[in-house]
């Protein structure tokens, strides 16, 4: 027996093993959603309103204030950017989700092959860990409040006190333990907390308005322009314009809409038009809540630590809101990270994987830069996952129109789609080059990046599929 076939067989077994591992993780999600499990608009209104009201909203509003955005630019930027986000859900994500009825991972597997999906899962897991880490940092600012802990400042990169490290560690252990013991209950608590959290955001902001000099509705715009969103950035921070706000509002959930992660949710929608219901999350969470937390930041004289500013507006309830809002979103995020990481070590129990994810998350949360540079991180998170969304879009809509075969990897039983992999890598390199050469900030890179990814995938698929093209023509 020659060694080459043996090696090939061994490689095939290893590859098959990897595919099997991935499939085992997605075991319950392989089939399209059956018609009797489709859901009406009410479920999506609640889901979107809840998902986009998290602890991080307490950070994003103050960061806009710190970046010196003007009041008019903020309001217009949020109105337009959130509208574009809603349109992205409605016209990009929902039509594919309601036609395939598959979740992101299973659909992507058909396009990329299981091995590339494995890489995508690992990247996704790391992003989830960092996102959950930022939420743990946010919660720590509220937990440390009664302990007199020194709060991190806007430009802090490293922990500024032993107290901060200990509190983050404590919060990280608690969040990880809860994720291991029963994340479903925490997720349910998040669902219950959403309407209350929205009220707390509004109430906290309204209650501090008199401190800023607003005593009637007529005063609001003047005070907003002169004392809240003044147009003057904090020391050492870049100034934000209308365009920054618009693109941030549009792309902060880029992984979900243009990146197609919300196929997993919208595949349950009876109609693609339910994508428009994302407006409930955008205009409650990413408009009202961001404005409210910006008002709180101004009332706190520019303090951006979420715990203290929430306490300033709503007392103990405000601090509790920061903790609850952070924990209820950090837990499912950590759980998803564990789920994705389990593809590496399928023999590990779920609790072990979640423990590792929790350790990574907590280690990341110790650095306040993760929270204080949240805007950059969120933009990077969306950008890194966006090319795969463009691949799905191009595969679904463009390839058949060009006579190319959809889901080529599935059709040919390929374990790794090189057009999808090259599209991913080249797009990110191109975005980096645009940033390095022309100085285009990270918040804007998603737009050119999406077009680059789409064109690349179509072109590379055409190179990959000439034989199939001929076969298709012969059949025709």
């Amino acid at each position: 027996m020659s060694t080459l076939p043996a090696r090939a067989a061994a490689a095939q077994v290893a590859q098959q093993s990897l595919a099997d591992r991935l499939d085992a993780i997605n075991e319950f999600d392989r089939e399209p959603v059956p018609p009797d499990r489709l859901q009406g608009p009410g479920s999506f209104i609640g889901l979107y309103a809840g998902e986009h009201l998290a602890g991080t909203e307490f950070v994003i509003g103050p960061l806009f204030v710190a970046h010196g955005v003007a009041a008019r630019d903020l309001v217009l930027g949020l109105l337009v950017g959130n509208l574009l986000a809603v349109l992205s859900w409605a016209f990009i994500t929902a039509p594919i989700a309601t036609r395939t009825r598959l979740n992101l991972y299973w659909h992507l597997r058909k396009i990329t092959g299981p091995n590339l999906l494995f890489v995508y899962n690992i990247v996704n897991a790391l992003m989830f860990c960092f996102l959950a880490g930022s939420m743990i940092s946010v919660a720590a600012t509220a937990v440390g409040l009664p302990l007199g802990m020194a709060m991190p400042r806007l430009n802090d990169v490293y922990p500024n006190s032993v107290g901060w490290v200990l509190v983050v560690f404590l919060v990280g252990i608690t969040v990880t333990a809860l994720a291991i013991l029963g994340f479903e209950k925490i997720a349910a608590a998040g669902q219950v907390a959403s309407p209350w959290m929205f009220m707390v955001f509004v109430a906290a902001a309204v209650a501090v308005l008199p401190r800023l000099g607003v005593t009637s509705l007529g005063d609001f715009w003047r005070v907003a322009s002169e004392r809240i969103w003044t147009g003057v950035p904090a020391h050492g921070v870049a100034k934000f314009s209308f365009w920054h706000i618009m693109f941030f509002a549009w792309f902060c959930n880029m992984a979900m809409h243009i990146g197609m992660a919300d196929m997993t949710v919208l595949r349950y929608a009876k109609r693609w038009q339910y994508g428009f219901l994302s407006a409930c999350g955008m205009y409650l969470g990413h408009f009202v809540a961001w404005i409210a937390s910006g008002i709180l930041c101004a009332a706190a004289l520019g303090d951006v630590a979420p715990g203290p500013i929430a306490y300033l507006g709503a007392g103990v309830t405000g601090a509790a809101t920061v903790v609850i809002a952070s924990w209820t979103t950090a837990n499912p995020t950590l759980y998803r990270a564990g789920l994705a990481l389990q593809t590496i070590s399928p023999n590990w129990k779920r609790w072990k994987v979640t423990l590792v994810a929790g350790a990574v998350t907590t280690a990341a949360a110790i650095f306040p830069a993760l929270m204080m540079r949240l805007l950059d991180f969120v933009a990077l998170y969306g950008l890194i996952l966006m090319p795969m969304g463009a691949v799905i879009f191009a595969d679904f809509w463009l390839l058949p129109r060009l006579g190319l075969r959809q889901r080529f990897a599935e059709w040919k039983s390929l374990l790794f789609s090189w057009p999808a992999a090259l599209t991913w890598v080249i797009t990110l390199v191109a975005c980096w080059a645009i940033n390095a050469i022309w100085g285009l900030e990270i918040f804007f890179l998603g737009l050119p990046g999406w077009f680059i990814a789409t064109v690349l995938y179509v072109g590379l698929s055409a190179i990959q599929q000439p034989a199939q093209l001929r076969a298709a023509r012969a059949e025709a």
């Binding site: 859901q39 669902q191 209350w196 109430a203 309204v206 949710v265 349950y268 709503a314 007392g315 309830t317």
Partner: protein
């Protein structure tokens, strides 16, 4: 029972948000608003889970 629980929940939400407008109008002190919010929070979490929890789309 479900209706009663809902009434308690909405009363809780009311206590969470309405006092802030009274602070804004100069009718009550900030400390009263903070205390009432806490009461509203307890009412909400003591009643809402019993009628609110249901299957989410992705479950």
């Amino acid at each position: 029972m479900r209706t009663l629980l809902k009434l308690i929940s909405f009363a809780g939400l009311g206590l969470t948000v309405v006092p802030s407008f009274l602070v804004f109008a100069g009718r009550i002190a900030w400390a009263t608003h903070a205390a009432l919010m806490l009461v509203g929070t307890v009412l909400w979490f003591g009643s809402a889970p019993f009628w609110m929890l249901k299957t989410k789309p992705h479950e």
